[in-house]
């Protein structure tokens, strides 16, 4: 291997490895959070809750854990390693709200916490609402046409 080739090879590896590592971390931690969710879900089903309620309560449990871990400062450390692994599950939505709420406390509870907890969660709610309503209208038109 010539020197130039070797340099290219090293640069190539150096550029790629963080992406590969990031993706493996995201995959495994994202999967792990879903497993924790499934454990909650199975536990609540075992205790006799309906499937829909058990699923909602499993999400709420993950949201609670996220808010708690965000508060004690552990979530940031996990998120730094996990990347999209903590972002994509419901934990990302919960963390967006709780971390903003904690960070903007000094600006007051109305215009600080109350307003700014939606800095990231707000757009999520806006666009999910719009796409949901759009779907509802299209679905309604379909049911009218085809019964």
């Amino acid at each position: 291997m010539k020197k130039q080739e070797y340099i290219e090879y090293v640069e190539d590896r150096a550029k790629k490895s963080p992406i590969v590592k990031n993706c493996i971390c995201a995959f495994s931690i994202g999967g792990l959070i879903c497993i924790i969710g499934q454990i909650f879900l199975d536990l609540y089903s075992f205790w006799g809750l309906e499937k829909q309620d058990a699923s909602t309560l499993a999400s709420i449990s993950l949201i609670f854990l996220t808010a708690l871990l965000t508060g004690i400062g552990v979530f940031d450390n996990i998120a730094r390693v996990a990347g999209a692994g903590t972002l994509v599950p419901i934990t990302g939505f919960a963390n967006a709200i709780s971390s903003q709420a904690i960070d903007t406390k000094s600006e007051g509870y109305v215009l600080g916490v109350g307003a700014k907890m939606f800095t990231i969660a707000g757009p999520v709610l806006v666009f999910s609402t719009i796409s949901g309503v759009l779907y509802g209208v299209i679905y309604y038109i379909c049911t009218v046409i085809w019964g």
Binding site: A26, I35, S98, P123, G132
Partner: protein, 122 residues
Amino acid sequence: MEIALKYLIVFLVGGTFSFIAQVVIDKTKVTPARVLVTYVCVGVFLSAIGVYTPLKEFANAGASVPLTGFGSLIAEGVRRAVDERGLIGALTGVFSLTSGGIAAAIVFGFLASLIFSSKPKR
């Protein structure tokens, strides 16, 4: 054995959703906020075309815990409400199944702000 397989599927499907987002973030420098918005909208769309409900039956929490699952709950709530009440259901159904999660995130976020103070960023 069946339980092990079920949990393996949860892990693989849930992991794949995160994996795709990580590739998108690393390759395109899209901000995390946009990823969240996109995922929820994709969830609504996949549920609308009838793909997501079978996926949820197959992968359980692997499909319901990622934010696409949140989107699919919105679509499901809307569909049920339109079936029951007609066009107004398009508005009333949006949060019928998701309000539990949203309210929890707001309440726990608020409680966290009462109890905890922000740590200095490292």
